[in-house]
Symmetry: C2
Subunit: 174 residues, 2 copies
Amino acid sequence: MVKKGYGGTSISDIAKAVGMTKAGLYHHIAGKQDLLFQILQHAMDGVERDVIEPVKQIEDPEERLREIIRLHLRRLFKNGLEFALLFPERRHLEPAQQEAVVQRGKNYLGLICVALCELADQGKLQDLDINIAAVHILQTITGIARWYTKDTGISEDHLVEQTVNFGLSATLKR
Amino acid sequence: MVKKGYGGTSISDIAKAVGMTKAGLYHHIAGKQDLLFQILQHAMDGVERDVIEPVKQIEDPEERLREIIRLHLRRLFKNGLEFALLFPERRHLEPAQQEAVVQRGKNYLGLICVALCELADQGKLQDLDINIAAVHILQTITGIARWYTKDTGISEDHLVEQTVNFGLSATLKR
DNA sequence: AAAAATTTTCCGAACGATCGGTAGGTTTTT
DNA sequence: AAAAACCTACCGATCGTTCGGAAAATTTTT
């Protein structure tokens, strides 16, 4: 589904990939739409557990923002970058499920916004539109899934470091 | 196709959208794959004309980078942000056509890389990985198509300005 | 200017294939 | 023996594509 998109992936394809027939697979899933929904929910559960929860306890907003980017990328690398590419496929869900996914996405974006706001209060931020900056940072992170592969010669550690610096120096005063 | 993806959009859908029957539409296109290919080529022709060509004459690399971001966004706004979302759908093309599209994309990325390199030579750049920074800038631009709508209350001008600043202060020394 | 010939545009009907999904039965595990 | 896992076989619908011909627009000939 990552490679060929929601519409381009048939249930038979998925069944074959897990070594089953269509009917066998249908014993485990409620339908194609619901399968995508479960995948998205599962992926976001992981982000909530490995990113959102841990950074809650970091007081210093600069350090927190740094960790948000770091942990998010680590999480993507560990769990498979590809899953980030499924996020736009939420358009194939029912409006209600779509809303649920979008809501959790906005929730995460809020995390970055809050960090930026606190930095602004401390006078550490450049003169910029916080909401736009927050989305740009998030797009930079998730955009990595669209181009990064190991055979670029770029190491994960290096990429994490560079991305953190990119996001911070784009927003922080110096 | 922007809304529902390549696989999720049938030829009937497209035909209906242009007020024709399937068979009537097929008089104008060579097939579904080729239609996508033509759309992508057409979109990239526009970028080449409105962005790549104009900035060739700008000597100063900082000014050039600024104009790349500005003109690219202006072009997206004028021609419809949505078309940027079709770029990832190139995966549904034949390998040969896919390669053609990717090549033109890399060509464009090279433009940013060169600007950054020249800035580095002038000692105006932060200590960073130029290739990674270039992709991050590009992802920030194209990422805008994924979230921006007029009803966010953000004006196009404001967004252009903020994005240019974001990209430059992420990479330039100050 | 009218008529004839030609080309372009479009449609109805159908094609084989595949789609998501289901019913009913068999095998495997508990 | 009960329950869970899985299969074969099939459903109606829709997929991308094609074909022969009608309708409309254009060009050529008279």
